[in-house]
């Protein structure tokens, strides 16, 4: 910048360079196209549009739970934990086996038949979810000890390749016939689906076999459960990270590992705990996802895992609210692009959004300017 006493006369080319006008115009053009597409469709059929938003919200909350694990692990060890999506898959399978093989969701009803069935079902479902969370945390703990810990001082890429290896192993081991089988398996929900409609006529329960009234949007108890569970777990995580001693140690480790060690923090165990918490949240997400889509499959972890990772990057990796916001954007993007562009294009749209956001804000929406030394 020149001194401001003499206002320099900029030539046209200098103006183009300084205002970055072409790049901005390009981005604005893309943004306008998206806004145009959305508004046209929203005006044409507002009900469908709102319904899409509700569906997107449901998906976004599941992604948020997975994204938290990615963002925490990346924040603390700078590792893209590709195996996280597969831990999510294991969580779904754990809940599947718990429900269909040992009927764990029924245990309260069996032990105390007098209890109201609703409360018994709620407690039973929570038990299943807790089991999935604990087993996933244990799995992540084992993975961390066996595969990542010995490589802590190795080049970062070795740990990344190991993560890919673990991911492959979980997928293909799960695909074996005696493990999870290579087929789609129908998932038995621990509770019955109840669907409500909401519209001008007011709020009502949708009776099976009855069509949705014109101008109404529908949502099920699964939507409510997913949103409530996700918000609860999110707040719990926020509490753990900001208010407890473990959370403080986590933040210290993420900020500066050697110094944290000097301050008497057991860095290794804190890293293990981080992996465990992230995996537990992914396990819960696995159960919710399987409940929502009612099937389990050994590859089900890849795309949601990747989407959640994209969400974490989008929101600014390392930041918990960022992961949450990014996941909601991802969910909406996926549902809206599937609805208004074409179903197979939704992955492409998700990644296009990521690339565009990264170009505007290189560290994501909530990301702090990079501290990382190149």
């Amino acid at each position: 910048m020149r001194s401001s006493t003499v206002a320099p006369r900029l030539s046209l080319t200098q103006k183009i360079v300084q205002t970055k006008i072409i790049g901005k115009a390009l981005i604005t053009l893309v943004a306008l196209a998206v806004i145009y597409l959305l508004t046209v469709n929203a005006i044409k059929n507002p009900t469908v549009f709102l319904q899409q938003l509700v569906n997107g919200l449901q998906l976004g909350f599941v992604y948020a739970l997975i994204a938290l694990g990615y963002t925490m692990v990346y924040g603390i060890v700078r590792l893209i934990n590709f195996a996280h999506g597969d831990v999510f898959m294991v969580g779904a399978f754990v809940s599947f086996y718990a429900i269909s093989r040992i009927q764990l969701h029924d245990w309260v009803a069996r032990l105390a038949p007098g209890m109201s069935p609703f409360v018994a079902r709620v407690i039973g479902s929570i038990t299943v979810m807790l089991l999935a969370m604990v087993l996933c945390a244990f799995l992540a703990f084992v993975i961390e000890r066996i595969a990542y810990k010995p490589l802590r001082d190795a080049p970062r890429i070795s740990a990344l390749i190991t993560a890919i290896g673990v991911s492959f192993f979980l997928e293909y081991f799960g695909a074996l016939k005696f493990v999870f089988s290579p087929n789609f398996t129908p998932y038995k929900r621990p509770f019955d689906v109840v669907t409500w409609t909401l519209g001008r006529q007011g709020f009502g329960r949708l009776i099976e076999g009855q069509g949705v009234p014109e101008g109404n949007i529908t949502f099920s108890n699964i939507f409510v459960i997913i949103v409530l569970t996700s918000i609860l777990l999110l707040l719990l995580l926020q509490y753990i990270v900001t208010k407890t001693r473990v959370g403080k140690a986590m933040r210290a480790t993420a900020y500066d590992k050697p110094t944290a060690r000097l301050m008497g923090i057991n860095v290794d165990s804190i890293i293990s705990v981080t992996f465990g918490i992230g995996a537990a949240w992914a396990g819960a997400a696995g159960m919710l996802y399987a409940t929502a889509f009612s099937q389990v499959y050994f590859w089900m972890g890849i795309i949601p895992g990747l989407k959640a990772f994209v969400a974490a990057v989008l929101g600014g990796i390392g930041s918990i609210p960022g992961a949450f916001v990014g996941a909601l954007i991802m969910g909406q993007a996926e549902v809206l692009s599937a609805g208004y562009i074409s179903t197979p294009m939704r992955d492409a749209v998700a990644f296009s959004i990521l690339i565009i956001v990264l170009l505007i804000r290189p560290t994501g929406i909530f990301g702090e300017p990079s501290r990382e030394k190149a």
């Binding site: 080319t13 183009i16 360079v17 970055k20 006008i21 072409i22 790049g23 901005k24 115009a25 390009l26 981005i27 700078r78 893209i80 595969a147 010995p150 490589l151 190795a154 080049p155 970062r156 890429i157 070795s158 390749i161 190991t162 890919i164 290896g165 673990v166 991911s167 492959f168 192993f169 997928e171 293909y172 081991f173 695909a175 074996l176 290579p182 890849i302 990747l306 990772f309 994209v310 990057v313 990796i317 074409s342 197979p344 294009m345 992955d347 492409a348 990644f351 296009s352 990521l354 690339i355 990264l358 170009l359 290189p362 560290t363 990079s370 990382e372 190149a374």
Partner: protein, 419 residues
């Protein structure tokens, strides 16, 4: 030509020997077509991985987009030869050839303009390039359609086998150039991102390419690519000779780049970007150059791959497989050309060959269980890769004669792989 280095002679002699041995074994019938395919796939993987080694191993840009460029090369080259052999039309050839040439011209023209506008941000430059390329590519499509007839006549004047080979070689090269130009456009804004963010953006590129290929018949209008059903009917023209020829070519090009001042600049960007900038190296420029060359290799390999089985399917270009070149590069040793080549062949031989043969009937799926375990054990035991930073003599940096005494010393410090 007077004093060719001994190592060069060894390299050329060795390559010819390997080529002849395999060729003779194949012709005699000792190597079954199964192993023949695996060897060719190994060589193709070597070309892809050498490109990635240039980008990641030597320039330090964590790219997962290599597989997307591979897919672009495969489909564009496959489409050109498909049109020639199945539809008797050189339309694909002329349009792609003109498109690539004119897009190249557009890039060069805009580059002059951008260089004049000092300090233009990457996104604006990308916009300018995009406008230029789209305009000239449109011209190319129109002119290419017109040229189809004369080129058809010209190629038909030649014997059928000769014209097929000519179309094939041009198609493979075009596949590479097409991938290179796309990588230039894509890399321009994306290369400004930091290391991991760049990796994710390039992974996104791979996924976008795969999705587009899935819908190539409905959305892009290439009916013969058949979208998610897979493209069939590509002539099987990739022989061991062509694969090996391109592999050697790529190795020599890599070596010569690395030993030029360009190569030293490329490596310096990996070692320390800030220091490189302080030494007057145009970091962004060298990142782009490396990315384009690496993608060119990927496109070449794609073109070769398309003509091995004569069948292309979008699932082959799934992003999960895009980790394969990365695995190979790390497995062989980052920044080691020898290691990359060895690891590519090892990867093809072990994963597709030996494990398939060794595992009992009905246990074929187990090889994907054994493979990650091998990978894990390997990474835990040798985190720096199979070859570390060893190079065969031909590929080693030729140092000035005066410093020959502490050559080994120099080598290790200069080539030390940074995390």
């Amino acid at each position: 030509m007077k004093n060719i280095d001994k190592s060069t002679l060894y390299f050329i002699g060795g390559s010819i020997l390997i080529f002849l041995i395999v060729q003779i074994l194949v012709s005699v019938g000792v190597l079954s077509s199964f192993w023949y395919t695996i060897l060719r796939i190994g060589a193709v993987m070597a070309i892809v991985s050498l490109g990635l080694n240039l980008i990641y191993g030597f320039n330090g840009q964590f790219s997962l987009g290599q597989w997307g460029f591979y897919a672009l090369g495969a489909y564009s080259a496959g489409d050109v030869t498909y049109r020639w052999t199945q539809l008797q039309s050189s339309g694909g050839l002329t349009i792609l050839l003109l498109g690539v040439i004119l897009a190249g011209v557009a890039i060069l023209l805009v580059r002059r303009l951008v260089n004049k506008l000092r300090g233009l941000d990457a996104l604006s430059a990308f916009g300018l390039y995009l406008i230029g390329v789209i305009l000239l590519a449109y011209v190319a499509v129109i002119v290419g359609r017109e040229l189809e007839g004369p080129v058809n006549a010209m190629l038909n004047a030649l014997p059928a086998t000769v014209s097929k080979q000519i179309v094939f070689v041009i198609a493979v090269l075009l596949g590479g150039l097409f991938a290179a130009e796309v990588s230039f456009l894509f890399g321009l804004p994306v290369l400004t991102l930091g290391s991991d963010y760049f990796g994710i953006a390039t992974l996104g590129f791979t996924i976008i390419v795969k999705v587009l290929l899935d819908n190539s018949d409905t959305m892009l209008g290439f009916a013969e690519m058949k979208g998610a059903r897979g493209m069939i009917g590509i002539p099987k023209l990739t022989t061991w000779f062509w694969v090996f020829f391109f592999l050697i070519l790529v190795v020599i090009v890599t070596r010569n780049i690395l030993h030029s001042s360009y190569g030293r600049a490329i490596v310096s960007v990996r070692e320390d970007e800030i220091a490189a900038k302080a030494m007057g190296i145009d970091v962004a420029n060298f990142k782009t150059i490396t990315f384009v060359i690496g993608s060119f290799f990927a496109g070449l390999a794609g073109g070769l791959y398309a003509h091995i089985n004569g069948f292309l399917h979008p699932d082959t270009f799934n992003f999960i497989k895009s980790f394969d070149p990365m695995i190979i590069v790390v497995f062989g040793g980052l920044g080691s050309v020898t290691g990359t080549i060895a690891a590519s062949f090892a990867w093809a031989l072990v994963l597709e060959g030996f494990l398939r043969l060794l595992l009992p009937e009905g246990f074929e799926t187990w090889r994907f269980v054994v493979y990650p375990l091998l990978l894990l054990i390997m990474m835990l035991l040798k985190p720096n890769g199979l070859f570390g930073n060893y190079e065969m003599p031909f590929l080693r940096q030729a140092l000035p004669p005066l410093r020959k005494k502490n050559q080994s010393n120099e080598n290790t410090t200069a080539e030390e792989v940074r995390a």
